[in-house]
Symmetry: none
Subunit: 413 residues, 2 copies
């Protein structure tokens, strides 16, 4: 089965919105083993939408359309699809009830324009939208399958996972399963050398990628079943981990904040963080993990020197002598927050996020990360690329801090 993703929206053609929906759908089709042969984008224009539908249905069997299902006048996708197939729009009571409920919960009547969201081309099956008012549609028509979904990413994702994935699995003969292995602190260039032979394998394929400045490896296997593909991947994964396993920290959707969170939960340990240059980002990452309240009690963003001294108990003379961005200050921040909150681990971070404030000796991107467990305090010095924007320096610093924390906790085992 050959698929095409057609995204509708003038905002895409003006470059105001990046087309993440096409990537999402392609990625999910690939998991189903359905080949996506084309993406296309057309604006909110009836003729051009119909022309794009025609082009697509001449070259593929499955057309997935997103966008243009909202209540405003320029949302015309359902009408354009109906017109293309010379059919009319018909009213559906079930989605209308949900639209009514949505507005009633806001103490409002259903606006005239919102009513059109309950209309689908004749013969189309309603796709329930668990997070918005616009239902989607699926038809089998003229030997083709057409799926229409909203362009709002959260709605699209919820409907794909709730309905579409299961529906499309009937068309898939084999499956492509991918696994991403994530590494940290691997010496530059050595990853490519270590897996050179494996990269020549046609199935599973092995490819190096870079994410957040760190190397990942993608293993992709094509097989009749997910179980078979997984088994093929496991063999390759084992070979890779035999060679460079000591740099490995997670796979697929694993995040460093989850990995660290799981380690803390498993050890029944708590953590407190004192952030300067990252300004709350490390805390925000840690609290993205559901259940983090079992190991996070109180974190501090000690942005000023005064709060480092008065709240964390950092020695003022050290700041005077070495500056706030220095190894001894990171050390005392880690020890200070740990003592203050009474946690098992304490993490302190101080650095120069830029774009101003850098000097020759202490450039933008210089970051010190202190980690303490009460017996032992370790301080890491990191130099992030000075040319990076402030937000990216904060992100990389946070990622390094949590990676070093993971190594610290692991070493304690």
């Amino acid at each position: 089965m050959r698929a095409e993703v057609l995204c509708i929206g003038t905002e895409l053609l003006l470059g105001d919105t990046v087309n993440t929906n096409a990537a999402y759908i392609s990625s999910r089709l690939s998991e189903l083993g359905i080949d996506c042969f084309y993406h296309s984008v057309a604006g909110d224009n009836p003729e051009r939408i119909q022309s794009a539908i025609g082009t697509a249905l001449n070259r593929v069997d499955l057309l997935i359309i997103t966008g243009g299902l909202g209540p405003t006048d320029d949302d015309i996708t359902m009408q354009a699809v109906a017109d293309y197939f010379n059919t009319k729009l018909v009213f559906h009571a079930e989605p209308y009830k949900l639209i009514e409920k949505f507005f009633r919960s806001r103490n409002r009547e259903v606006p005239e324009k919102a009513k059109k969201q309950a209309y689908l081309p004749e013969g189309a099956e309603v796709v329930f939208n668990p997070v918005g008012t616009a239902p989607g549609g699926i038809w089998n028509i003229q030997d083709k399958t057409v799926v229409v979904l909203p362009g709002v990413p959260e709605e699209l994702y919820a409907m794909w996972e709730g309905t579409i994935e299961k529906y499309l699995s009937q068309y898939s003969e084999f499956t492509i399963t991918k696994r991403f292995l994530k590494f940290f602190d691997i010496p530059e260039g050595s990853l490519g050398e270590e897996i050179k032979d494996l990269m020549e394998s046609p199935n599973p394929t092995v490819a190096p990628l870079v994410a957040e400045g760190q190397p990942n490896i993608r293993i992709a296997a094509k097989a009749k079943s997910a179980a078979e593909a997984e088994a093929m991947i496991n063999i390759i994964e084992n070979k890779i981990l035999d060679r460079i396993g000591k740099f490995y920290w997670g796979r697929d959707g694993d995040t460093i904040e989850e990995v660290v969170g799981n380690m803390l939960s498993a050890k029944n340990m708590t953590l407190s963080v004192a952030e300067s240059c990252t300004g709350g980002l490390i805390s925000s990452m840690l609290t993205d993990v559901s259940g983090c309240s079992s190991y996070i009690k109180l974190n501090l963003i000690t942005y000023s020197n005064e709060t480092k001294i008065n709240t964390l108990g950092v020695n003022a003379a050290l700041i005077e002598k070495y500056g706030a961005v220095s190894e001894p200050v990171a050390k005392e921040m880690a020890e200070g927050i740990r003592k203050l909150v009474g946690t098992g681990y304490g993490l302190g971070i101080t650095g120069i996020a830029g774009p101003t404030g850098g000097t020759y000796e202490k450039p933008v991107g210089l970051v010190y990360i202190g980690i303490s467990d009460g017996n032992r305090t370790k301080v890491h010095k990191v130099n992030i690329n000075s040319a990076f924007p402030r937000k990216l320096i904060k992100q990389r610093s946070s990622m390094y801090a949590l990676q070093f924390l993971r190594q610290f906790i692991k070493k304690a085992d």
Copy 2:
């Protein structure tokens, strides 16, 4: 002149890469006043690339192709373009010299595969690549203009700005200038009503958009010069602000954290934040703004009840009676952090980020935001969509908190 952007690359169709190039090119075409009517994507397959070129040249005058100019075997774009036009590839000495120079600087011979990058279809003009080895090409052929550029974003950007923009400006009589107006807390549906008449204007065009769940308005003007377009936009902007100016908070790239930061700087006021459900995200947003150290001294992530009571001085009996997620607790958090840090404003936030922890009375997404200036404390209750993932609930809550803070500071004027 009608344009299409065709991006080549199987990684796009697998969903491994998001197509930012199409958005970049569209945005730049729009500035040149060239209408982009379609985007398309094809994989690294000769027949499908040629088919996509044919489809495009049947519907547009200007085709911009990116991707597939690298040295590896799956980089076949130049060959496919030559084949489509029944012409052959010819060698160009100038780009070859640069390829040689690139490898010589790395003490390497030019690999056999890299040589193909010096070959372009007969009749095509070379586009110099200042940051990589692959040159691009421009042809005028069969009444059409075809531009081929690399898919590596930095190379694409450098070549667009270095060569393509100037080249295409000959085709453009007009420039399109855009302005985005950002609003908050506008009663649902009323924005469309308020600007209904303006939305009928053909130039400038006025369109409602949604960003982070809040309405934006895009005004786009087409004129002979940017100055003329700006003047046209100003007229419409004034009309809009006359009607709904009280909901307006920023334009274009403005962020709420910058707007709040500028207000604090202008008033020479300081702020402290006590976060529970947002877990540091508000602090991280505030510290994304360079220079924030003049108004941020110390923020706290008080995740546990104990730290709300012991550090912020929230009355334990209130938590007992109303729960940690409640109006009185948000109020005391705001007042408590303000007093503790000694700032002009204090902000406290408590809510249920989910996915667990919700009840019928207090569902996931329920958030209380307290703001105090010592004289006055205001608490807002917000219900974020319970179906949103945890991270999105944190994001929306943080955005609301900073928007309410902006309103609070403004009201004090």
